[in-house]
Symmetry: C2
Subunit: 200 residues, 2 copies
Amino acid sequence: MRSRRDDYSESTRTALVKSAVRLFTERGYAGTSLDEIAKRARVTKGALYHHFSGKQAVFEAAFDEVEAEVKGRLEKILTGSQPPWERALAGLREFIGSCLDPAYQRIALQEAPVVMGWARWREAEDRYSFGLIKQALHDLIDAGEVLAVPLEVTSRLLFGALCSAATEIAHSTDQRKVGEEIEDVVVRLLNQVRTPTADA
Amino acid sequence: MRSRRDDYSESTRTALVKSAVRLFTERGYAGTSLDEIAKRARVTKGALYHHFSGKQAVFEAAFDEVEAEVKGRLEKILTGSQPPWERALAGLREFIGSCLDPAYQRIALQEAPVVMGWARWREAEDRYSFGLIKQALHDLIDAGEVLAVPLEVTSRLLFGALCSAATEIAHSTDQRKVGEEIEDVVVRLLNQVRTPTADA
DNA sequence: CCGACCGCCATACCGGTGGTATGTTCGTGC
DNA sequence: GCACGAACATACCACCGGTATGGCGGTCGG
């Protein structure tokens, strides 16, 4: 039986995470204090330290929050019933769109490698969006849609290119135009490595 | 007439910058204190604050230091006398090699966007390695070596891909193998957008 | 129904760090 | 050789992450 206290506890925890996501997005990791995070959640630092082991742990919870959101949307598309090539294109479009979310942009892509350390970030990304991209590329190769390429490094190249480009979109004045340019270039490149046997 | 005091002053300033580069590389921006930086340069925080306006300014000086180093090597290659395509390939190889330097890796690529802010980092990068890459791509298009592509976003895609991939190399156990794989994939992609008229 | 228990959270406090204000030394130019 | 100011050193403050301790209120066995 789930007790009333469990409800309270979970409620404050999620409030803390939401508060952290918002403040980390607005002011960055170094620029936000734990007191602010707690204050926005209408609790004190004591409550925060009861739910998390420290500032890093709060950040990782915020990281998981935004990553899970993106992963959910991506997974839905990549496991659809369309042909592999179309699924990949749709996933590409969806991922670029996700990168435009300031929270995902700043927390998951920009600050996470610095705050969590590159190794831990990479490990986590393998379970989230990067893992899905790698999987999608793997499927394309498996289906014979694209030429065989080293999976790990090619995924890394693609992921890095997309993140970097998405940041460019997010900061540009004409997001639509830049977004279309990027999609165009990426699709052209992908079409070049597409196996000749596949239909147009 | 350059005074003796100017020598002293410049000497301590460069000592501070060298110290900052080393410590920022080893422990990151947040993990290093100004006292440590000053101590390694055998001065106190007072001297540091005489030469720099604050911690951010020290970081930017360290950033300029490592960026200038890479830019110098890259410029020498890209302004060589070889044909454009070979110059670009050599520059590509050189840039990947530069990314393996832990100082450049961590300070210029990883932490700078977070510490300096993305806008300021992008502005600075336009004067350094990213600017050179964009220039090289521009030259290739100008020489008719590759198809016309949106310059800004394509440079951004390329830059992001290379940085991401270089980080992967730097952390891998078999750097040579991963490096060759990446170079192979990038060259294959570039060859795909090469104009058919160019010779093999 | 009730009282001991414990999870949940608040309060008080500490060490360290970025930043500032002030003091001190020493080379420089008149 | 002396006053001046640049180049530092020293002392101090405010803030923040982290810890220790106290207390309130649900929970549960009797």
